[in-house]
Each structure stands twice: as C-alpha cells, then as structure tokens.
Amino acid sequence: MGCLTQGRALPLMDMVLDEHAARRWVAAIVAAVESHRDYLTQLDAAIGDADHGVNLQRGFSAVAAALADKPGLTPGQVLLTTGTTLVSKVGGASGPLYGTAFREAGRALGDTVAGTGEQLLAALEAALEGIRRLGSASVGDKTIVDAFSPAVTAFAEALGAGADLAAAAAAAESAADDGMHATVGLQAHKGRASYLGPRSVGHQDPGATSTALIFGALRQALVEQSA
C-alpha cells in the first residue's frame, strides 16, 4: 500500500490518515452536510421531526469553527474535537450518536500522527461500537447502524484483501450507500421513525443517509491524498 508514483509537485508519502487527511475528511463532511441539509431534513420530515439536516449543519459548522481555531493536532485529536463539538452542539438523537462515534474513533487513534489502514479500521470499529452501545440498535432497525455497520465490514474486508486506504474507503462508501438504500424497505424499530410502525416502510432513513455522506467524505479525503 502507499502511493509510490513520482513526478508531482506535492511531497509524497505513504497513504495514511494524518492530520491533513483527518481535516480533509471532516471538511468534506461539513461540505456534504451543507449541500444536503434540506434533503436530510426532508427525509426526516417524512418519518421523523424534520430537523436532521439542520441538526447536523449546526453541529458541523461548529466543528469547522472549532478545528479552525486549533492548528497542529494529531488525527485522533481532530476526530476527538469533532466528536466533542457534536455532542455539545447537535442534541437530538444524532448528536450523541455521531459525537460518541467521532470521540471513540479519535480515542482509538491514540497519539499517532499517521494512522495506518489497521488503525483507521480500529477507529471505525470503535465508532460503530460507540453508536451501538448508546443506541442499542441492530442492523435492520432502520438507523445509522444500517449504513455504518456494513461500511465498517466492507472497509475491513477490502483492507484484508490488500486494498489501499482509498480503495478501502471506496468500498466502505459503496456499502454504506447500499445500506442506506436498503433502509427504504425496512420498518423502523429505533428512533422517532419507530413511532410510525408499518408506516415507516417506504422511506429512506435520514441517519443512514448522513452516514453514507460521512463515508463518501472519507473516500473523498483519501482519494484526494492518493491522486
């Protein structure tokens, strides 16, 4: 793994999750949430309370500000700051869930300055575990977990099959997308959508959708690095 081709102005390095990659990831989430704000809110209007896009935008714009104030972080600190800011700015269900996810991921990275594929995998697994512990949702409950869990599995499998970070992230993105699409057919058992019972079927879950954006942003951040 690593990007060994030469001949460009950028200094090259092994493909890793360093501070810049971590910041690129978060910046790409900020941008995706911004451009999908109304879409996410619309999805939440159908089976929730019409605030998911607004919630995430409030959180991630605060994250952008918080990170801009703090130069020179480890990638773990970038994710920890992201998570802590989400916890204190978002509220609702998605605030503690995504906040905990990023905090756990940041903690799992420890003080490394250049996370390897295995370290990123461990971070993603810790994030998923945090979401599960807090929300006790399983795959099939029509939540964030329906996109997050297959994404982590796909990331692990790709890495195991020798893929580089960017390729593994691409595999994770595609699995998150599939998981997101699959929520349409599901009846919700957790979160607000569960109140609708069978009427929740036929609608895509907003949280699974934002998770797909998060994995899309990860792929983008890592592909930029490898380009």
Partner: protein, 332 residues
C-alpha cells in the same frame, strides 16, 4: 410559512429573551439556554431539572418555579438539548440533596440526559433520572424506542415538584415521579401538521377532511389517518385507547388534561373536555382535577391530546399544593 420570529436560527434564544423579560422570578441564561428560579438553589431541597426540544411551550420553562421545576433547558426546536445545558442546569440548582432529571422518552433526550448524568456524577452530584413514557399510541416493547413522553410530563413535574418543595428526599421524589408516570396515559390527535421554523413548510400533508390519530408532540405523523369526525367520536377513540391500556374503574378519581397542540383555540378544547367528562362519568369515574389549555404543544399544530392519571389521596394533595410558575399557578 409565516411565524412571529426574527430568524429560524434565533427563535429559541429570542423567546428566552422574552421569557427573561416577562418573568422576573426566573433567571434565564440565554446563551446556554438554561432557565432556573431567580432565587437559586435551596440547600437541602431535592432539585428537579427537565428539558427537551423547544416548540412545546409552556413546557418546560413555563413550569419552573415554586412547587414545580428548579430548572429547564430547552433545546433547539424539536431537538433534545445537549449535555452541556443539562450539566449547567444541574450544577446551578443542586442544593446538596440530589437532583432529579425528568426525561421524556425520546432517543435523543434519553441519550443526552444519560451523557449529562455521567458528567454530573463526575462532579459528585447525586442524580436520578425519571423517564416519562405515557403515550399509548406507541406499542411498548424492549426492542423499540418505547413509548413517547407527552402530557404526563406536566403531572410528573407538578406532583414531584410539590413533594420536593415540602422536603421529600430524593428517593421519595423519584418514587412519586415514577408513580405518576405509571398511573398516567395519553393519546394525541392532529387536525393539521405543524410547521417547524427551519423547514418552513408543514411536516406532513393532511387532507381537508383527514386527521391523524396517535400523534406525538414533534410534528411526526401518527399511526393512522382517518376521516374527520365529531368531537364526541374523537374523544371516544382517544379515551378508548387510553382506557384499554390503563382501565379506570367505577369509583376511581382521575386527573384529566385536555391539552391543545398550539393551534387549537380553547373553545374547542372545552368542547372535547365536555365529551371526555361525559364518557368517564358514564363509567362511574370522577374527574377530580382538571387542566384544559395549551400545556404541551407542538408548535402551531391544530389538535389536542388527552391525558389521564389515576389519583390517590396523596397524589391529589400534592397536585393541590401551591405552585407558582409562569404557566401553572395556584395557592401561591
């Protein structure tokens, strides 16, 4: 959408400025979105903190004051507050006798209060959480998010608040709060969808002759849609759902609230109350105490909810105890 506001982003903070200006009895921290009693904590008194998304006014800030809550922390509209708010509120009201968090059962509220409770315990403050989950429109199950907390929140806050005010200890206050929740049930009906300031259009579409049965207080659609019906029929369905889950027997005394969702005038709420009264009287149940009005709203939604609580003499006594808040006031 037309709303009396300056911007969707600032509506909660602007309203908090209004609450601060209107109620000198309250101390309002607008930036942190925390409302407490102006006089501060009373040493030795168990303190009650509640909170939840905004959009349900007067819940919860309107219930801060003598004989009820010590603090409220409103989140953004329909969005649970964040742990920082709950932490600030809890620290501000702790009188050394423990703090009770009254939490409506929504995934977000429960998780945020849980995170806050962990932080509070790190401070050495004893905190207990009471979950309110009275809405019979939702099937109760370990494998789901469970029942929503709606109208019973007012009953829990009033009765537990009265006990705390008269010196009840933490265990007693928590037990009273849980008892009220266990004895209470609610069912809500929407005639129109509400419109959140951020989205700017109705959360769901409802035909001119349709109503949603079994709605919550966040503008979410209910479990079933039906044709518009008379107040008598609507009361019968709503009360029927409640009584199927928690039967009230001949000779029982009940506390009953007919609550407006925000866009329904009092005239109509009294029409519904007349029907509820007649239905319960027909079963030999006496409505001993009553609330009719807007107490747990859902922005500008038209509709109402009915909440019943089976009383005991002790609960009635605590209900009657003095209360002095912006939205509920008697005997003081």
């Amino acid at each position: 959408m037309k709303k009396l506001m300056n911007s969707a982003e600032d509506i909660v903070r602007d309203a908090l400025r209004g609450i601060a200006a209107a109620h000198p009895d309250l101390a309002v921290n607008v930036d942190e979105q925390v409302v407490t009693r102006a006089e501060g904590p009373r040493p030795g008194k168990v303190a009650l903190v509640s909170g939840g998304g905004a959009g349900h006014e007067p819940l919860h800030a309107g219930f801060v004051g003598l004989g009820m809550l010590d603090a409220a922390c409103p989140g953004e509209v329909f969005t649970s507050p964040v742990p920082d708010q709950m932490l600030t509120a809890t620290r501000a009201v702790d009188g050394g006798a423990g703090v009770v968090h009254i939490v409506k059962n929504y995934t977000g509220d429960v998780m945020n209060f849980q995170m806050a409770a962990e932080l509070v315990r790190d401070d050495g403050i004893t905190v207990e959480s009471v979950i309110v989950n009275d809405d019979v429109a939702i099937e109760d199950s370990l494998y789901t998010a469970g029942r929503r907390g709606t109208g019973a929140t007012v009953f829990v806050e009033k009765i537990a608040g009265a006990l705390a005010e008269e010196g009840g200890d933490l265990a007693a206050v928590v037990a009273a709060a849980r008892a009220v929740n266990e004895r209470s049930r609610s069912f809500g009906v929407a005639l129109t969808s509400g419109t959140t300031p951020a989205k700017g259009s109705p959360t769901f579409d409802l035909g001119d002759d349709e109503i949603e049965m079994g709605i919550g207080i966040h503008g979410e659609p209910g479990r079933a849609r039906r044709k518009m019906a008379s107040a008598a029929e609507i009361a019968e369905v709503a009360l029927g759902a409640i009584l199927e889950d928690y039967p009230l027997q001949r000779g029982d005394e009940a506390l009953v609230m007919v609550n407006g969702m925000g866009g329904t005038p009092l005239l109509e709420l009294y029409v519904v109350f007349a029907e509820v009264f007649a239905l319960l009287a027909g079963r030999g149940v006496r409505i001993a105490r009553t609330l009719v009005g807007n107490y747990v709203t859902s922005l500008d939604m038209a509709g109402c909810s009915i909440t019943t609580c089976q009383l005991t003499p002790e609960l009635t006594r605590l209900w009657d105890a003095p209360v002095r808040t912006a939205a509920l006031r008697w005997g003081a």
